[in-house]
Amino acid sequence: MLRIPQSALEDLRRHGEETYPNECCGVLLGRLEGEVRRASSIARCGNTRSDSPQNRYNIDPKELIRTQREARERGEDVVGFYHSHPDHPARWSATDLAEAHWTGCSYVITAVEGGLAGRTCSFELAGTGEEDKRFLDEEIEVVPAAASIESR
């Protein structure tokens, strides 16, 4: 399950609206607590796929290393990633699965229809490696703003 503050969820959905008709992408930062990926914030990233940004995304590893370093200073880590599907459903695609390698992490997808964020769904990349990796539907538990402040 993915637990995420409402503000972070709204921010990643807004990111998809801002980059429409191109895909947005970013990182979910937080802590792994048993089977729960508890995100506390997101880090917006640039989409390096300038050749086909409307249907592909790629995060620069250098940007991820920097983001990870900053998160580590706060005692946090990467718990997942997000991207948008402009004018396509919030379901993982064959490309998403083929190019996903962070098993145990959440992959959040937001459908953006005509520039407006629609459904947001999350999938856990399960498995032990390339041979058996698969996406599993996972619940998103949204933590309301007041509760997220209390739980810090």
């Binding site: 895909e23 992408c25 990182v27 792994l32 796929r49 086909s52 249907n55 592909r56 995304y57 790629n58 995060i59 590893p61 250098k62 991820l64 290393i65 990870q68 580590r72 880590d77 990467v78 718990v79 990633f81 991207h83 599907h85 402009p86 396509h88 459903p89 379901r91 993982w92 695609s93 064959a94 490309t95 998403d96 699965l97 083929a98 190019e99 996903a100 390698h101 962070w102 098993t103 145990g104 992490c105 992959y107 990349l125 490696g129 996406f135």
Partner: protein, 96 residues
């Protein structure tokens, strides 16, 4: 050198996020790492011993592909980060 292990590979390295190894090149460091944690090997190398294409290796802030790959010299105190790629996107075929 310090090798930074990404979240998905930590189960194969005693859950460590950083492992200190000896070696004067990136390749020697990775060999030392996979010798200590043999289960990591299949995640980093193909069956014919090449580094997997979707795994990036950054020495400090530089991709070793654009340096001297596995022969890239490493100094004491350097950081080698293992970063599986993060990519995807819409295709015409959406999973049911």
């Amino acid at each position: 050198m310090k090798i930074h292990i990404p979240t998905p590979l930590r189960p194969y390295a005693e859950k460590k996020d950083v492992v200190e190894v000896a070696g004067s090149t990136a390749g020697q460091g990775l060999a030392a790492l996979t010798s200590r944690y043999p289960d990591l090997r299949r995640h980093l190398y193909t069956d014919d011993g090449k580094l997997r294409a979707f795994v990036n290796f950054y020495l400090n802030d530089e991709d070793i592909r654009y340096l001297q790959q596995e022969n890239t010299p490493v100094k004491e105190g350097d950081n080698l980060s293992i970063v599986p790629s993060i990519a995807g996107g819409v295709t015409l075929q959406i999973a049911e």
